[in-house]
Amino acid sequence: MKTLEELMALRDAAKANLTARDDSSEVTRIVVGMATCGIAAGARPIMAKFVEETAKRGLTNVTVAQTGCIGMCRFEPIAEVLVPGKEKVTYVQLTEEKVARIVADHIVNGVPVAEYTIGAVTE
């Protein structure tokens, strides 16, 4: 069984590893639509996957956040990627596989995955 003592040990380990986060202007934001439409379309595992992928890669300058209805319910699950100084990229009809690729290509390597974006789907 997990114990609170274990949590204390994790806290001490995390404290030692807490690196100073980059200046907030440099933080990339991933925002997942979590209104009724998003949740019904499967936003919960999408958000968890973004968290998992960024944690796995130790990306400390990335935050995953949630928002309400983005207004394009038929394209849910939707996530927006906001890289400082770049135009916002909106990804639609997300799956966990797509999320893994977005994190690798866009977040890590800076190349948006054009085929998953709202522009590609509505053409």
């Binding site: 274990e6 949590l7 994790l10 806290r11 404290k15 979590m34 009724t36 949740i39 019904a40």
Partner: protein, 181 residues
């Protein structure tokens, strides 16, 4: 919604939008009488009588109040479909209490699903809000209180990956113990 846990996530988002500082979520199940109560209680800004009436009606959606939409009607239908019932009470400046009663042996009962994922999403995405999660099955129960976790963690945030993983395992293990004889 494919799982009631998704309804819970959706309803709790209303509490987040209502600027609650504490959100309590409880699931109380009796496997002998096939009863399940799901309660979501917050200390957010609350609603007027009129607003409460409006949220019950999916066709009265006005986008001026953020708490109006399909969320409450879907949750209510999920409960009433099983022969259960639904209650919502709210007071401006005090908070909102939502209770849904289900008959778990009814053909139209939607499975509870992955409550752990719902709680982890809520806890890690809303660090400024405290969550009290209580789950009871017959005479066994457990609670997780983020206020208690925060007291232990100090300035280490709940969304730190190793901490979030611990909370996930902690809730999963406690949930599993409820069903063990």
């Amino acid at each position: 919604m494919r799982e009631l846990s998704l309804n819970v996530l959706d309803i709790a988002q209303n509490s987040v939008s209502a600027n609650a500082s504490l959100i309590e979520i409880e699931l109380i199940e009796n496997s002998k009488t096939n009863d399940l109560l799901i309660g979501i209680y917050d200390n957010g800004k609350g609603m007027t009588k009129e607003q409460v009436e409006n949220v019950r009606d999916p066709f009265f959606t006005t986008r001026t109040t953020r708490k109006v939409g399909m969320g409450i009607p879907l949750f209510r239908f999920a409960a009433e479909m099983t022969g259960g019932s639904f209650e919502i009470e709210s007071e401006v400046g005090v908070g909102t209490r939502v209770r849904a009663y289900f008959k778990t042996n009814h053909l139209d009962f939607t499975p509870i699903g992955d409550m752990t994922s719902t709680m982890i999403s809520l806890i890690t995405m809303n660090l400024h809000i405290d969550f009290l999660y209580r789950r009871k099955l017959n005479d066994k129960e457990f609670t997780v209180d983020t206020r208690q976790l925060k007291a232990i963690l100090g300035d280490v945030p709940l969304n730190e990956p190793s901490i979030a993983l611990w909370i996930t395992d902690y809730i999963n293990e406690n949930t599993k113990q409820l069903t063990e004889v």
